[in-house]
């Protein structure tokens, strides 16, 4: 891997938002790689760390809006895991902001684009 952004996308929301962005012709950085998951709550700390270890520049976990997780706590757990992963990264001297969790709905392609672009800016600043 070489500086890609990995996004774990919940199939109920973020994955559809990514599709909608494509359908509307909204462009985003090519380095994004989407991995579809059934719920943001499926994404584990090791998945995020492994991705960075393999050379990803950033990892995003994108789930449903707060209170709208079909599995009630999936997005909340994901947020805490991302926070924890960020701490683990800071511990070893890596910017914890390179993992991020965001909430969005299936019909929010613009928000999707915004998240990806902001993360891209962040890693660009760090020279990746």
């Amino acid at each position: 891997m070489n500086g890609e952004i990995i996004a774990f996308c919940c199939e109920h929301s973020a994955y559809a938002a990514a599709d909608a962005a494509g359908k509307q012709g909204l462009h985003y950085p090519e380095k994004l790689r989407v991995i579809r998951v059934p719920c943001a709550g499926r994404v584990d700390i090791i998945h995020m760390l492994k991705a960075l270890e393999e050379g990803a520049a950033a990892v995003l976990v994108l789930g449903c809006e707060d209170g709208l997780c079909q599995h009630l706590t999936g997005n909340v757990r994901a947020k805490e895991r991302v926070k924890y992963s960020g701490m683990l990264l800071t511990e070893v001297g890596i910017d914890g902001g390179r993992v991020g969790m965001f909430n969005l709905a299936a019909n929010a392609p613009h928000k999707f684009i915004k998240i990806i672009k902001e993360m891209n800016e962040r890693i660009k600043k760090q020279g990746r």
Partner: protein
């Protein structure tokens, strides 16, 4: 059996011009386990289906990778096709090279497309078939609460051929209908009779649910009837435990008494055959504490009209906003105004004080822009709609969350309207919030439709081992059981010794939270297992 993979690339009628398909094929062809790479124009149409069919059968492949449009469009169709070809649908791996690759970027994206396909290929290698089987379900349903909602649900269920058991904690049916007059009151006798006449409905009065174990299709419910405890099994449970109304002390400055009364008391007075002297001035007040209920508006409008008709009193309504957002209420509001009911809308809560045996209300009216002082013979206080007695206890028995006011169900639009987070447990009517008649009726028939759909076939198709805890690795730490949002996991004893977690495929909603949280890595979620996710990560950037 060794992995033998077939890869189908779809160029969407040749329109995905920023992907060099021959080059992609070249890169994929020499991969291990890959039998062939086909490029097609339109896999989603009939001819594409034919191409997949013939190639799959002649090459005898056991993994199918399809690079095409979003799985949102094609996943179900391709899965169905695989099934037709006697291949397990879980052996399908998709790469979204249209919406999330070709359409999302400008310029040549061949490399990205290739990577996305490589991710799908590496995942496909690890895919295992997931068998499906039919599980028999109990076709009987339990309805808790013998009020309007419970009775109507039972009647509609029995009309659709589901046998409901109706549990009511009071000695007689009727619930809140017993207190209501007018339209609802008129329905009471007819409804109770209809329920009692219906042979399919079993009625248990003076009975309460004290325990619920098990899962959809097989709930084991403990019911206490008088002093006896009965254990029964049901396929689904419908809660229609209703509401109560209450005047909360903190919200209303004066205590109820002779001239400050509740809506219920007013309704009783209106029904009384004689009254010593009918009150000359009546004030209604609501919106003092919060504004999230339609109930006070409805009760006020109905009672104000009745007062006008019966006593001809002067009627004043003090409120912030008249809640007219349900069917027919605006018309009721108009009628009330035409009949002379005065509406005074305040911003700050009015002062209410005792005034020589009467009640004085001092309020600022925002429409007139004036302070108004009014002395009433009778003031009808705002009543809050709250969950019925025992709702909290029941929700902890069920391990189901309640909202901030104690009603069943958090607001989660995905679970709307009547389903709970536990499959097979439903809520109808006012036990899940403040609903008007139209919404209550919609609730009832929708829950009946869903229960019917679940139970009437007598069996449910489930994936046998989609999510599975490995008994060798499980340390019975209970973490997954505590984390599972759908209460689908429980401890079981295997081989008469070890106690391990077991996931009920019936109750499981396939979210994977347990697989992520298991500290012993004992839970595998086929299709999204750690190996399969990591394989995708590792495939990135390799080409």
């Amino acid at each position: 059996m060794p992995v033998k993979m077939g890869i189908f690339l779809c160029n969407c009628g040749g329109s995905l011009k920023n992907i060099d398909f021959p080059k992609v094929r070249e890169n994929l062809e020499d991969l291990e386990d890959v039998a062939f790479v086909d490029i097609s124009h339109n896999l989603c149409l009939e001819e594409g289906e034919k191409a997949i069919t013939s190639r799959t059968l002649t090459e005898n492949i056991n993994r199918v990778v399809i690079a095409a449009c979003s799985p949102e469009f094609c996943e179900r169709n391709f899965a169905r096709l695989l099934e037709k070809l006697r291949l397990n649908p879980n052996l399908l791996s998709l790469a979204n090279i249209r919406e999330q690759c070709s359409w999302a970027h400008e310029g040549d994206v061949t490399r990205k497309a290739l990577e996305l396909i490589m991710m799908a290929v590496d995942k496909a290698r690890l895919l295992q078939p997931v068998e499906r089987k039919e599980v028999a379900v109990n076709k009987e349903a339990l309805v808790v609460g013998g009020g309007f909602c419970g009775m109507k649900s039972s009647l509609e269920l029995s009309q659709l051929g589901i046998r409901p058991t109706l549990v009511e904690r009071e000695p007689t049916l009727g619930g809140k209908l017993k207190e209501l007059e007018g339209f609802y009151g008129s329905q009471r006798e007819a409804m109770i009779k209809a329920v009692e006449k219906e042979e399919n409905i079993e009625i248990l009065t003076s009975a309460e649910v004290i325990g619920v174990e098990g899962k959809i299709g097989d709930f084991r419910v403990r019911i206490r009837r008088e002093t006896k405890e009965i254990l029964r099994t049901f396929g689904a449970i419908v809660f229609a435990t209703g509401y109560k109304t209450e005047i909360t002390a903190g919200d209303f400055p004066l205590k109820l008494g002779i001239n400050i009364i509740s809506q219920k008391r007013l309704a009783q007075m209106l029904q009384a055959p004689t009254l010593e002297a009918s009150p000359e001035t009546i004030g209604f007040i609501f919106d003092l504490s919060d504004e999230n209920s339609r109930f006070p508006t409805l009760a006020t409008l109905n009672n104000a009209l009745a007062v006008k008709q019966r006593w001809g009193s002067e009627v004043y309504v003090f409120c912030k906003n008249v809640k007219v957002d349900s069917e027919g209420v605006e018309k009721l509001y108009r009628e009330a105004r035409e009949k002379g009911v005065m509406f005074l809308k305040f911003d700050e809560n009015p002062k209410i004080s005792a005034d020589d045996g009467r009640v004085r209300i001092d309020a600022g009216d925002t429409l007139l822009g004036e302070e108004i002082a009014l002395t009433c013979d009778l003031v009808v206080a705002e009543e809050k709609l709250l969950p019925a007695e025992g709702t909290e206890g029941l929700s902890s028995v069920l391990k189901i969350r309640t909202d901030s006011q104690g009603f069943y169900q958090e607001e989660n639009v995905h679970l709307y309207p009547v389903s709970s987070e536990r499959k097979g447990i439903f809520f109808v009517g006012n036990c899940r919030g403040d609903l008007d008649l139209g919404r209550v009726l919609a609730d009832i028939s929708s829950v009946v439709a869903i229960v019917h759909e679940l139970l009437s076939p007598g069996k449910i198709m489930v994936e046998v081992e989609r999510v599975k805890a490995d008994p060798q690795k499980c340390v019975a730490c209970l973490t997954c059981i505590r984390a599972c949002p759908h209460r689908a996991i429980q401890l079981v004893q295997i081989d008469n010794e070890k106690v391990v977690a077991e996931i009920s495929q019936l109750a499981c909603d396939k979210c994977g939270i347990c697989a992520a949280i298991c500290p012993a890595k004992a839970i595998k979620f086929e299709g999204y297992s750690d190996d399969q996710i990591l394989a995708q990560i590792e495939a990135i950037g390799v080409s």
